[in-house]
Amino acid sequence: MKDKLRRFLRIDRRWIFLLLTAVMVWPIIHPFGLSGKTSQQSVRDFYDFVEKLKPGQAVILGTDYDPSTKPELHPQAVAALRHLFSKDVRVLILTFISGAPGMIEELNQTVPAEYGKEYGKDYVIMPYNPNYMAAMTQMSIDIYKAYDKDAEGNDVRGMPVMAGIKTYKDIAGVIEITGTGMLDAWVAYAGDKYGVPIIGGTTAISQLGFGPYLQNKQIRGLVGGMRGASEYETLISKPGKATSGIDALNMAHLLVILLILSSNLILLVIKEK
């Protein structure tokens, strides 16, 4: 018996992979409809920040994610953009990640049409810029030196969406959706240095790292992972992809708990250190 248990402890990890696949595929095919409860203060802070914006104010939406983190971050970006458009806020979309322009294109094709928003008047998409540090510093002096053309190569100076915008002083806040270190960069190079309010959306795995920033109000609100995205979708009453994926997330979490418990129970039974 003990030998069998010992063997279970050394189980080939591919069995665990298989188990996880089964556990996650099942709720995707047959959803249980377990709704998320809003319990995270940081998500409510994110929502409140956007809610308090006045029509006509301008916000930078940093979409620094690529297809790898799309399941977690794209629903956040969609929800944030929907919320911003519903408040008639002007949006400057930009990115420093090479894989992001495709994600932005997906946003561009869906969300603005829902709210009847016009490119160049209500929002603008800036081109991919590989040097985030230079661009973030430059925008404190003159945004047009970092971005004089939009992603299509049109001059942004004459666009109504850019009216009255010159530096960070003319921006109401930066919403950064990313699984990379770009949120830290915004805090360091724009938030702390020039006082621009920073709000973030990030992957569940990176969420914990932003605790100190949240406590210091260096980040005013944070949506973390698919769970955070589903809570935000609930707050703006627009259930989307995150809400539908929450069942699979539930099951995966429960499996982790079961695995940890079982391995420790076995250790207890066989009394092996």
Partner: protein
């Protein structure tokens, strides 16, 4: 030779390092103009460096194919992948969509790159679960405390866990699992992180001084 390889680069590091540090304390226009120029130079240099990277990538894999080293077939995919994206990119002038219709580059991005990249990140979930199973063994008091914290966090992070907590302990009315999570995240977790972050910041500041004053020059070949 020593002047070109050692003293001139060190002088550049020291002068530019001190000037850049000074810009934080000097708000004058000259300061922002200097920073602006420096940033533009950096963008230009990184543009050329991309080309350097590309040449290195293609040459490495070309050599592997030419020498038929083990796994040279994988190197073929580097070239296939490269041309499968670069050629559509040139044809569609870098645009992923035109008048709402996907270009060939857009198609390559959405239907080749998207699923490949998503797969890589998804693998992480599998690794986390298997690592949790293998490593989360309670072998000391500290590990037990860690286990309790992790257990509450995982449980509280899913609606099923919240429902379970409410059903079992909700009647006591002491506090919700959300409050406990918030406490764990904002007190012990942040305290530990701050400790590490302060250490890192001091380390980074001292290393920066070592670089600016040329004490640390291993990165440019010591002598």
């Amino acid at each position: 030779m020593l002047i070109i390889k050692k003293y001139i680069p060190l002088a550049i590091v020291t002068i530019v390092g001190l000037l850049t540090l000074a810009t934080y304390y000097v708000p004058a226009k000259a300061s922002s103009a200097y920073l602006s120029t420096l940033n533009q130079w950096e963008v230009i240099v990184s543009g050329f460096a991309f080309l350097l990277g590309l040449i290195s990538l293609l040459m490495t894999h070309y050599k592997k194919i030419a020498k038929r080293v083990d796994g040279w077939g994988y190197s073929l995919f580097v070239f296939i992948g490269f041309f499968a994206v670069v050629i559509p990119g040139i044809i569609s002038h870098g645009a992923q969509a035109k008048d709402g219709v996907l270009t060939s580059l857009g198609w390559a991005f959405r239907y080749l790159y998207n699923p490949l990249a998503a797969t890589m990140f998804a693998v992480l979930a599998f690794y986390i679960v298997s690592t949790a199973f293998r490593s989360f063994r309670i072998k000391s008091v500290q590990a037990f405390v860690l286990f309790i914290a992790a257990f509450i966090l995982i449980l509280g992070n899913v609606p099923a866990g919240q429902m379970l907590w409410d059903a079992m302990l909700g009647w006591t009315g002491i506090c919700g699992i959300g409050d406990i999570i918030q406490w764990i995240m904002q007190v012990p977790s942040v305290a530990a992180k701050r400790g590490i972050m302060i250490g890192i910041t001091i380390g980074a500041a001292v290393t920066s001084l070592k670089i600016i004053f040329g004490i640390e020059r291993q990165y440019m070949g010591r002598d």
